[in-house]
Subunit: 403 residues, 2 copies
């Protein structure tokens, strides 16, 4: 078997991890032939032949000896241009860029089909946990009812520090950044966008449906207060940032990213620190739980390696579920039970509740628990991202005969 020659775009935390992991794996039959970076002269922490570096993308994209492009740069728009160009030239690509994929997947799927070229991206969702591959291959049937999980390591790390270690939110955020879990722009993690992009990608492989990110209600943890944490502790639940796609009937599914009150009996309750955990629920197999390191240089790089090795065997995603005849369609026309803590803003003036179940008013803070349409949350999302509110989902169960 001859070696696969990789053109690597990006040599940051993940890129260096890819380099290291491929060097370690004696049976990988892969070598990094060229590395495209912004500044080839920049001093590097690990020993790499300086001749490998270039700042000209065409030295990879127009190089007939390159068999595979691995793209692990930060900038989503630049990543899109590189990946698109590579695929159009017939070069297979492994990418870890969730923001780019969540936005451009429909076009990139079309290019893959038209040019019979593969784009693999298991590393984009949950790092070393093989979620995409399992949804695409193993849960390749219409028994699947739900994929729900903690998809973002840094927001989960912060919530763990705050909950289990009673640290302040600001301290926890700083630590997450120091440890390299949080992206350089922390809003990506803590506002829920990172989870959202992963959820969009997961849904393509879970149900064969692409829903654009802007159509999905997304609410993060940036505005969590001591009173929310106290409330959750009293109720003996944890607050986790949860992304979910769930069939609500044979015809429809819904998706959203929101903080959630998680009871101790739930698998994701014990997913702490920077870990990710995903629950896959189906009609016959009940719940499967996958748990592991979702971020970080080497876990992400090991997932990239899995995709690289899959290419040695000509593996490609078939996107089979997109061809299903009876595919469910996306809806936000359903009710959620939510908790909203507020202080200045009178939430009842901002958001229409179908039903109010509990209301608490005090000098310090107030909360209301009630039923709200998901479409209403989506319509009001910009005004809800005010400083003095915190919203959390209180799970109710759809199509779940064993709860």
């Amino acid at each position: 078997m001859s070696n696969i020659h990789i053109g690597l775009f990006g040599f940051g935390v993940v890129g260096q991890g890819v380099f290291e992991v491929i060097r370690k794996s004696k049976n990988a039959h892969a070598e990094i032939a060229r590395i495209c970076v912004r500044d080839p002269k920049k001093p590097r922490k690990i020993a790499v032949d300086p001749a490998l570096f270039t700042d000209r993308a065409e030295e990879i994209l127009d190089n007939p000896h390159i068999d595979l492009v691995v793209e692990v740069i930060n900038d989503a728009e630049e990543a899109y241009r590189i990946v698109r160009q590579a695929l159009l030239k017939g070069i297979p690509v492994v990418s870890g860029n969730k923001a780019m994929l969540a936005k451009h997947l429909p076009e990139l799927i079309e290019i893959q089909k038209k040019n019979r070229v593969a784009l693999l991206y298991d590393a984009s969702s949950c790092g070393s946990i093989p979620v995409i591959r399992n949804l695409e291959e193993y849960y390749d049937n219409d028994l699947l009812l739900e994929v729900k999980g903690i998809l973002n390591g840094s927001s989960n790390y912060i919530l763990s520090r705050v909950f289990d270690h009673r640290e302040s939110y600001a301290d926890a955020l700083r630590q997450a950044q120091e440890l390299g879990f949080a992206e350089s722009d922390p809003s990506f993690d803590i506002e829920g966008y990172d989870s959202l992009f992963k959820l969009v990608i997961i849904t393509v492989h879970a149900l064969g449906a692409y829903v654009a990110p802007e159509r999905i209600f997304t609410y993060g943890i940036a505005s969590i207060h001591e009173s929310d944490i106290r409330y959750a502790r009293e109720k003996r639940v944890k607050i986790k940032l949860v992304a979910q796609v769930v069939k609500v009937s044979d015809e429809h599914f819904t998706m959203f990213v929101m903080p959630e009150f998680v009871e101790p009996s739930r698998y994701i309750y014990s997913v702490d620190d920077e870990y990710n955990g995903v629950v896959i629920r189906g009609e016959c197999y009940d719940r499967q739980f996958m748990f592991g390191k979702g971020a970080g240089s080497l876990p992400t790089a090991s997932s990239i390696l899995s995709d690289v090795m899959a290419r040695l065997h000509d593996y490609r995603y078939e996107y089979k579920k997109r061809e299903y005849l009876q595919k469910p369609t996306y809806t936000t026309d359903l009710s959620l039970k939510i908790y909203v803590r507020y202080s200045q803003t009178n939430i009842l003036h901002v958001l229409h509740f179908e039903e109010i179940l509990e209301q608490y008013i005090s000098t310090e803070s107030n909360y209301v628990i009630g039923m709200v349409r998901l479409s209403e949350l989506l319509a009001k999302r910009d005004s809800l991202r005010a400083r003095d509110l915190f919203i959390a989902n209180i799970p109710i169960f759809f199509l779940d005969r064993d709860n």
Copy 2:
């Protein structure tokens, strides 16, 4: 896409589950064309066209309209004859028979290669958890260090009842049988053979190495006593029946099935009742944990469905790791730290300890904790299966830089 026509062997708990799951899955493109059973006239609980049944294997094996054989019968030797015959005739097979596979895999792999025909068996190991497929595809590299888990649902159910619900072992065993978790011959589960067979299959896909079941130390939970449970409770650990394959150096790996004292910090600690849980550990991704229903009619059948649908896309195991140049080899030449409780038998006369770390003697029962060669345990296994002994592994860590 035209339907795949299945010839089903066996219509017990799993066979009926397969029938039901395929009927439910609208996009499966699969139909059961013929069912071979011992007694076609036997009344069945679920409504099936009586014309589907036959008691003559050749009505499936010599039928040109059958695209795939699904084999879910109990008898391992009969299963072997059917599977071998089908493969020799060029018909792909999906099987769930771990005893048969653990014994005959080397020959069946050869036949697959020679006749370019596929045999899939993800359902044989951990029911609905996709362990084999992930080891074969996703952890397809030499970073893998260890696969360790609770692979048998019924022994785990019994231990859970005894530990968490303080029931007697005999009551717990009876319940497991009533609930259908335990095989008709319970020794298969509680003596560890079911876990052993699964471990043999897993190791073929984890490290590319086949080790015959009789070369692997296997010790079950049949002789557990109240004093063992009390000891474990005092130490705040649980006793679980654990199967493991682990690299002990770059050149060697080892495997064994034994009860183990599991600390609360370990992922498998929380795998209770009839559930299975598998930890996959690798050099760069640390630990991945997969958890789900390992047995039962529908979970197993949903796993069979995954294999059936994989056949629609011509999927086959490539057994890539068997071709690795630097494959580790099996060894039992290493020390384990074990606990042995004994009453009549003086264990020190039966088993050679390299080192004794603790010894406890009382009127009721005695125990010793010490270091023993795994080769010594293997050599003495028949004499160790005496009534008044109980052996448990106290994990020490090999090649584990983060413990």
